[in-house]
Subunit: 245 residues, 2 copies
């Protein structure tokens, strides 16, 4: 029979962050991911309501329902970590309000590109920060953000639409540049307002440098490193659509 | 070893409508039910987007996702009957357009009451017509329409809101009367435009009168019987809310 002192620090394990501070940081990122999935649900559902064809309406409603399911899995992890899901969500209530006001799409194609490119930046940012999480939270976040069937739909449709329409292509390329600029502004705001996210990125970076032997980012160049990676992902995404990034 | 003539008429069974005509009628009602579930998804998702609290937003998004799942089960049955789900849905595209235009809710409470009372009439109509379906389709439709957690939410909230507010209560009672009037108009339109639905009601009525020994409706009094039942259900629903029907 073992006795444990009630004040003994919990041992880090695959299932558990190393301590209360790391756990609190994890809840911040999980709250952000859950908020993004909830936002995806709202957006996909309203896309479904106005989509041109019944086939698209059906497909988009299924993506919306899947976003609810992913969000709830993330909220479940927040509960496992002893935190309150509603409070974790609430702190991100307004995170996309300005972004959405500044990037109101005026056509169906602009909406599709916004979903793929605009929110893609937010997802990439969460993926980078997730590398600083405990193993179980990290695996969950990466799995949730790996769901690409909606992105595939956007790519297929945008590709088909743009293939023989030079005017559309160049308008969408311009729109993509606006989206990524505004999205990087959101990330900047998040890093200022939520120090927990910066700590997760630092932890992720320290882990990567330990594994690869490359030098870790210093506090001075860490933001540049993150923005560099986000911009590279954006370029890859735009190229996939045949649009000049 | 048995041989079947390829031109033998299919035998009615629990899993199968009695013939091609009955199967075609079933597809009409299944299309209507699937359309109503899809509409419920769109409505619940947009309610979720504007709900006052995070708790309500989460609950409504889950109801929306559940409506997608129910709609897809009904579409699955349409496929089993050899019909095309998109076509079955498409014929009801505009069935609620006028109703929605005429009953635009101006408050959150009016929205809730519309969901509970307005669409409740459509659900009741489908339940009545479902009694004329083959056994498997009928069981599915009744199961799908039996999902009441969203109605329970509406009842709880409306009840709490109206409990000590006489002005709200009497405004909502008035709103309920407008909703049921418009909803019965939708049913009237459906019966005129989709003779299949009238045939299902007649089949349902014939079955009920065979089982209970009561006289079946004649073509002359059948519509009155349906509207009588729908009105009775509406009265029961309004009373549950403590509103004068």
């Amino acid at each position: 029979m073992t006795t444990t002192r009630p004040d003994a620090a919990p041992q880090p394990s695959a299932d558990r962050p190393a301590g209360a501070a790391e756990s609190a940081d994890a809840v911040v990122l999980l709250g952000l991911v859950a908020h993004l999935e909830h936002t995806a649900f709202v957006r996909l559902a309203s896309d479904s309501a106005i989509a041109p064809t019944i086939e698209q309406r059906l497909a988009l409603s299924r993506f919306a329902a899947a976003a609810v399911e992913r969000r709830d899995r993330v909220l479940g992890r927040i509960v496992e970590l002893g935190a309150e899901p509603e409070a974790a969500l609430r702190q991100f209530d307004d995170v996309l309000t300005d972004f959405d006001a500044r990037t109101e799409p005026s056509t169906w194609w602009e909406r599709l590109l916004k979903a793929y490119v605009g929110y893609g930046v937010a997802d990439d940012f969460c993926r980078l920060a997730a590398e600083g999480l405990d193993e179980r939270s990290r695996a969950l976040v990466l799995e949730v953000l790996d769901e690409t069937s909606h992105a595939d739909l956007a790519v297929t449709e945008l590709d088909a639409a743009g293939a023989d329409d030079g005017v559309l292509t160049s308008r969408l390329a311009l729109w993509g540049r606006r989206l990524v600029g505004e999205a990087l502004g959101v990330v900047q705001g998040l890093l200022t307002q939520r120090p927990a996210l910066g700590r997760l990125l630092a932890r992720s970076d320290a882990r990567a440098s330990a594994e690869t032997g490359t030098p870790a980012a210093t506090p001075a160049n860490a933001p540049a490193k993150v923005f560099g990676e986000l911009t590279a992902q954006h370029t890859r995404r735009m190229s996939r659509l045949g649009l000049t990034p």
